[in-house]
């Protein structure tokens, strides 16, 4: 076994480390800590952040890629050879689903194929029958299995919750439990734990049953939709997070310098973003994606496997989305910087001869933090949704990559079938909806706390 890092893996892990560092830093700043405290007082914010963390967990699981060693008997040399295709931890978890591909469509929990096929029986008579599925076992009772799964899920989640409470409030464990149960804790822990338990139980149920059934059905070539939906999480989350992360430094640097320095710097930066933002977004993205494809075609040595190829394409897509989406934030930041730099404390600092860099660090950036934060969470959901539309136009992620956009796109054709094949669309819809809803609710809360205009 060999660990392999794809480009996007590195970025996402880098980001996670950066986030951890950042949270460590702000945990020492009482003012910022207080703001976050206020945010998490709301039970909606708590619940949605638990959901977001859950999605992030799957992203991270899917961002550790391995190359498995080839079985030894087929090798002549003693040197261990590795498989060309790589698998992620998530693939290992769902290995049974990858292996057990059916022939074609089957509905959730079905035991036979969705469409009938022609079969010639022993007597030479042609018939139309619903072929049974190959990898569905009905030997255990459905209810019994479900109950078992639910029980295990409940136990597991309660255990984790208990450990977490104990870790937080070692000294007064029982008391804390009571507080949380009654909803009297300072933060909305009750909702958080509730959401957590719900998610874990649902996941265990889906996962345990996926050994005996295709829980969310299968697609046209018999691939398991549940697995696809989970694989798509990484694509969606990556596009949502990395895009904003990539465009953030550009937007902040250009926005702040335009607002602070003025003069020709301001003119150039304004020209730059007015030009970029005056081009209809989709056209710019389409042009970017098309030229990126050319670049990749001309350099087939950049990647070895399909996975690496689609990963590179994802990376480029993220870059292009980043390039096209920094202008809005930049404009806002420039205006805000302009406002702040004319305030008394900044002019005073200038008069004292404090260096510009220090002014930026001490006075300007901290006061822009709330705008940046709001735009990051707001953009996140927009980008996840945009992925679907871009796939429709044909400039989205690689067609071999699992993504909700690709699923919806395919489902459009399936909806026209009669009877309708609804489960792909349904799964993509539910998985996507939960993520975007959580992100939107979270950003709503952040906005309400941070943005003074939103106080009712």
């Amino acid at each position: 076994m060999k660990l392999v890092m794809l480009w996007t893996d590195m970025l996402v892990w880098g980001l996670v480390i950066a986030l951890l560092l950042w949270s460590w830093v702000i945990s020492h700043n009482p003012q910022v800590k207080k703001i976050w405290h206020t945010i998490f007082k709301s039970s909606i914010a708590m619940a949605s952040s638990v959901v977001l963390l859950f999605y992030l967990l799957f992203t991270l699981l899917d961002s550790i890629h391995l190359r498995l060693a080839l079985p030894l008997e087929s090798q002549k040399s003693q040197v261990v050879e590795y498989e060309v295709e790589m698998v992620s931890l998530l693939d290992l978890i769902f290995e049974h689903n990858i292996q057990n591909t059916e022939r074609t469509y089957s509905a959730p929990f079905a035991t036979a194929e969705y469409a009938s096929s022609i079969v010639v029986d022993d007597e030479g008579i042609t018939k139309q029958v619903y072929l049974p599925l190959k990898y569905v076992s009905t030997k255990d009772d459905f209810m019994k299995e479900s109950l078992l799964a639910l029980g295990i899920g409940l136990m597991l989640s309660l255990l984790i919750v208990a450990i977490h409470i104990w870790w937080r409030e070692r000294s007064r464990f029982i008391l804390a439990c009571q507080e949380i149960w009654r909803g009297e804790s300072d933060l909305a822990w009750r909702t958080a734990y509730g959401t957590f338990i719900l998610l874990v139980v649902t996941f265990t149920w889906l996962y345990m049953l996926s050994y005996s059934y295709h829980v969310l059905g299968t697609d046209k070539v018999g691939g398991d939709v549940l697995y696809q939906s989970f694989k798509s999480i990484r694509t969606g989350v990556l596009i949502g997070i990395l895009t904003t992360v990539i465009m953030l430094p550009v937007a902040v640097i250009l926005g702040v310098s335009a607002g602070l320095f003025g003069g020709w710097v301001d003119d150039v930066i304004q020209y730059l973003y007015t030009t970029l933002s005056s081009i209809p977004g989709v056209l710019l993205i389409a042009a970017g994606v098309l030229s990126m494809q050319v670049m990749m075609d001309n350099n087939p040595t950049w990647f070895e496997t399909t996975l690496e190829r689609s990963d590179l394409r994802l990376l480029f897509l993220i870059l292009i989305l980043g390039i096209t989406s920094w202008t809005g934030l930049c404009r806002v930041l420039r205006a805000e910087t302009l406002k702040i730099s004319q305030m008394e404390f900044v002019t005073a600092a200038k008069a004292f001869g404090v260096s510009k860099l220090t002014i930026i660090r001490r006075h300007i950036v901290p006061n822009l933090m709330h705008i940046i934060l709001i735009s990051v969470v707001l953009d996140f959901s927009g980008l996840v949704l945009a992925e679907a539309v871009l796939s429709y136009v044909g400039v989205g992620v690689d067609p071999t990559m699992h993504s909700w956009g690709n699923m919806i796109n395919q489902a459009r054709l399936e909806m026209a079938r009669e009877p309708m094949v609804w489960w792909s669309l349904f799964s993509a819809f539910v998985f996507m909806f939960i993520l975007v809803l959580a992100a939107n609710l979270f950003s709503d809360r952040i906005q309400r706390v941070l943005d003074p205009r939103n106080k009712v």
Partner: protein, 324 residues
Amino acid sequence: MLAYIIRRLLYAIPILIGVNLITFMLFFMVNSPDDMARAQLGAKQVTPELIASWKEERGYDKPLFINTKAEGFAQVSDTLFVHESLKLFSFDFGFSDSNRNIGADIKERMMPSFSIALPTFMIALITNISLALLLVLFRGSMLDTSMMIVAVMIMSVSGLFYIIAGQVLFSKIWHWVPISGYESGWDGVKFIILPVMIGVFAGIGSGVRWYRSIFLEQINQDYVRTARAKGLSEIKVLFGHVLRNGMLPILTGVVVIIPSLFMGSLIMESFFGIPGLGSYTIDAINSQDFAIVKAMVFLGSVLYIIGLILTDISYTLFDPRVKL
């Protein structure tokens, strides 16, 4: 005022040159003229001679930026970029790769786009504002909170899903409207009902939230409190003061997009088979018709800049404090 507008228009020129440069670079990176020729001449039996003559006819055999064969100034001016850009600035979009006059096509396709986009825009504006006012009226109540959650939910669904569901429900199952198509004039109403409704509904979530936040900001101002203290009914306060004073921030957001309505909606038009500029653009992207894409990018930028100027003008009209 006039001087200001002229200044703004002059300022638009370098922006448009920049826009041209960007699209030009991107598309010639994507497509060598050979590729374009091949795509346009069809899949079967394309010979190098054919490609050469096609390129020559269109002037695509010129170098992109610097003509090393030419002398003096012509080194820069006798290039593909300068030739193509100059034509654009006189709004001569030339011919598409399928030999149609793009200008004539755009003129023809503007109306269908507009006849979807304008009703969507107007109805959305009215519904969103009235719903937002309603929510502000009942602010803090259960109705307000639950509606806000519904709004977030509406926002969280991909627009593609609304279109698919709408077509299945209203056209396929209930037979209310034709599934897709377009007709100009009054006969066309039956075609535009569904796309307009879907367009309005998909935008209702974010729209209502935005207007609501604008109105809430107004309602906490002193003058509103005074008005209420005078004993004006809540509805009168809303319409007389909150709505009127909320107009200014609304204008900033809204006027900018009015000219761009002509550009149409890419997804909506291609799903509903509307022969507007949106589907024109999608087709051009798919068939890599550089001439059309360039024309559309240019047009989009021009309309956007007009929108910016209009916003500034409307500021002065509605807010006497602002002087240009």
